[in-house]
């Protein structure tokens, strides 16, 4: 994401106001770059028109991978590569393999999904963070509007942000 652009930043205190502001701004055909908050706001993704995350699908696929891997590993090791008689039981049978299969399913599903989340959201330890407003990790919510994507409507947007309850409207420039 390129951020060397000009933004109009509306600062809000109340999360519910942010949701109604987003709805109003979008109904005025103004494109919102993103909303930044100190915590997850209920209903903000619907208001912004975001689709439901597909991470559950990733979790399921990774989980299936874990199941298949665990079953293949155990049947191959115990049944094919080096069969051993333990307590007079079958070389390989499903019931005693269930616990390890379950654990590996959970492990790979969790790690895989979190990995996808990190990549999709571009979270990494050496990332240089560009904040719209430093207070968004404290108590302020911010609606950022890209002036490049909404050409010539700067004054109108400013007014709209104020109308919807913004305490401040600032300009932010990332160079």
């Amino acid at each position: 994401m390129e951020l060397n652009k000009n933004f109009l930043v509306g600062v809000y205190s109340d999360p519910d106001e942010v949701v109604s502001a987003v709805k109003k701004i979008r109904s005025n055909n103004i494109r919102i770059h993103e909303v930044y908050s100190p915590f997850a706001i209920h209903g903000i993704d619907e208001a912004l028109g975001y689709k439901r995350s597909r991470l559950p699908i990733a979790a399921f696929l990774f989980g299936m991978t874990g199941t298949i891997l665990a079953l293949t590993m155990q049947f191959w090791m115990m049944g094919i590569d080096w069969p051993m008689i333990i307590g007079g039981k079958n070389f390989a049978s499903l019931p005693p393999f269930i616990p390890v299969t379950f654990e590996l399913t959970v492990l790979i599903s969790a790690l895989g999904m979190v990995g996808v989340f990190m990549v999709a959201s571009d979270l990494k330890p050496y990332k240089k963070v560009k904040l719209m407003d430093v207070r968004i990790t404290d108590d302020k919510h911010v609606i950022a509007i890209d002036l490049g994507a909404n050409k010539g409507a700067s004054e109108e947007i400013k007014k709209l942000l104020k109308e919807t309850g913004a305490e401040e409207v600032n300009e932010k420039n990332f160079d």
Binding site: S13, D14, P15, D16, E34, V35, Y36, S37, P38, F39, A40, I41, I44, D45, L48, Y50, R52, S53, L55, P56, A59, Q74, M77, M78, D81, W82, I86, K89, P96, F97, P99, V100, F102, E103, L104, V106, L107, S109, A110, L111, M113, V114, F117, A120, S121, D122, L123, K124, P125, Y126, K127, K128, V129, K130, L131, M132, T137, D138, D139, G165
Partner: protein
């Protein structure tokens, strides 16, 4: 305007705002360590040092320095293992199961409870490691790695191996879950940091978090699925721990009641440990507005429920041993209650069955002193539960000529001290350098359950 719910007490008192949450929690991280913290650290490090000496001797000499004999081949080590794993369970219960049930009171205790889980699981993992004698070969023996004996693989039919997978998965998933929750709070500390070093460290720890709505939406979805995965996981872990005993043919161990009985015992002892830690933390760190009497009362209610399940399980075991008509089984339980270890059995019964019932009285379950004392009593009781199950079932085995007693040596005690010292050192470091309360989650409920609600305009 003040609005107070008539149905539920507020979860955050003192009229806190979102910005107050940031200040109150970050104060611990940013300020100089307090006197009580330094004192706690000094005690923990002393205990850790004594334990370290015992551990070094153990690794040098081998497990012969423990008090084990050929009749009692499992004693303090596995008792400590099961005890620590059990303690860990409360953290996951709070952060995962209470998340699925949308219990908002989890939010101010989940962070610390999960830290407790992680450290407790590390402590638990030490004991099977030490018992293998050669710790450095442990990985090689316990994991299905190619080796020069064939490859001769590990035995996937053994509950001990299931344990390896269960505990390591549990540790990894809990750590990941915990860390994901920490990222937004690290970002808060990063943005408040004044000096270069903490800016750099918390900057790296926060993974470039910028609070975007899209990321929050993904974050919520990750948290929900991790909770969904961690819930059966946590139940499976103590179930598998109980299989270590239940799949054997030792009288007193060979019972199908073990999995649910162990799981509820684990949650019981875990909540007691959360209680002990949170009462101290709330007092020392001045978190009284976040961890309220209402939180303590709710935790005590879980302690009554799980404690009662454990009590019923004890009685069921007694009944079934008689009803089974198997003399060895009957003797195992008679020996527990009236044999040479009767004192351990009755300590367990008093601490686990009788003491939590006191929480039926409202005055006791809302009293901080009583909750603190009873939480320690419960943890002593749960340690004895494992000791009773393990040692009394083993010490009088099939041949009366091999009957023996188990006497712990300095090294048995030392290993236990090592784990305790390690646990409290880690927890104190966590309490100093990490945000102890999940700020982002608490901020999200300020508006709906704070004691003072500011209405807009």
């Amino acid at each position: 305007m003040e609005v107070v719910s008539t149905v539920r007490p507020p979860l955050v008192t003192g009229g806190k705002t979102a910005s107050d949450v940031t200040k109150d929690i970050c104060r611990q991280v940013e300020g100089k360590p307090s006197k009580s913290w330094l004192m706690g650290m000094a005690i923990s490090l002393t205990v850790l040092a004594i334990g370290l000496y015992a551990t070094i001797v153990l690794l040098w000499e081998g497990i012969g320095v423990w008090g084990l004999n050929k009749t009692v081949g499992w004693a303090w080590d596995i008792t400590n293992f099961v005890w620590w794993v059990g303690i860990g369970h409360a953290g996951t219960l709070i952060s995962a199961i209470l998340l699925l049930f949308r219990q908002k009171w989890r939010m101010s205790i989940n962070r610390a409870a999960e830290a407790m889980t992680i450290f407790a699981v590390i402590c638990a993992m030490m004991f099977p490691g030490f018992h293998m004698g050669r710790l450095w070969l442990g990985f090689y023996w316990a994991l299905p790695l190619p080796n020069t004996f064939g490859s001769l693989w590990v035995n996937f039919n053994s509950p001990l191996l299931w344990d390896v997978f269960a505990i390591s998965t549990y540790f990894t998933v809990s750590a990941v879950f915990w860390y994901i929750g920490l990222i937004p709070d690290f970002a808060t500390i990063r943005d408040r940091a004044k000096n270069k070093i903490s800016k750099l460290i918390y900057g790296a720890l926060s993974f470039g978090w910028d609070g975007a709505a899209k990321t929050w939406s993904r974050y919520e979805s990750v948290a929900l699925i991790l909770a969904g995965l961690a819930t059966p996981l946590v139940l499976s872990v103590h179930t598998i721990v109980s299989f270590d005993f239940a799949t054997s043919v030792i009288p007193g161990w060979h019972t199908t009641i073990f999995p649910p009985y162990f799981v509820s015992g684990a949650i019981f002892s875990g909540f007691a440990m959360v209680m002990t830690l949170m009462i101290v933390a709330r007092h020392v760190m001045n978190l009284k507005d976040y961890i309220t009497i209402y939180h303590i009362e709710l935790m005590n209610i879980i302690i009554i429920i799980t404690g009662s399940i454990v009590g019923v399980a004890y009685l069921t075991e007694l009944f079934i041993s008689w009803y089974s008509g198997v003399p060895a089984e009957q003797y195992a339980f008679l020996n527990r209650a009236t044999g040479p270890y009767w004192w351990a059995y009755w300590t367990m019964m008093t601490c686990n069955v009788i003491s939590p019932q006191l929480f039926w009285i409202r005055k006791i379950r809302t009293s901080i002193v009583a909750s603190f004392i009873l939480s320690i009593v419960v943890n002593i009781g749960m340690w004895f539960e494992r000791f009773v199950i393990i040692v009394t079932s083993l010490h009088r085995d099939y041949l009366p000529s091999s009957w023996a007693m188990f006497y712990p040596t300095f090294y048995d005690v030392g290993e236990y001290l090592f784990s305790l010292g390690f646990f409290f050192t880690c927890f104190l470091l966590f309490a100093k350098f990490f945000p102890v309360v999940n700020m982002a989650e608490v901020k999200s409920i300020i508006k709906s359950t704070g004691s003072t609600i500011k209405t807009s305009k």
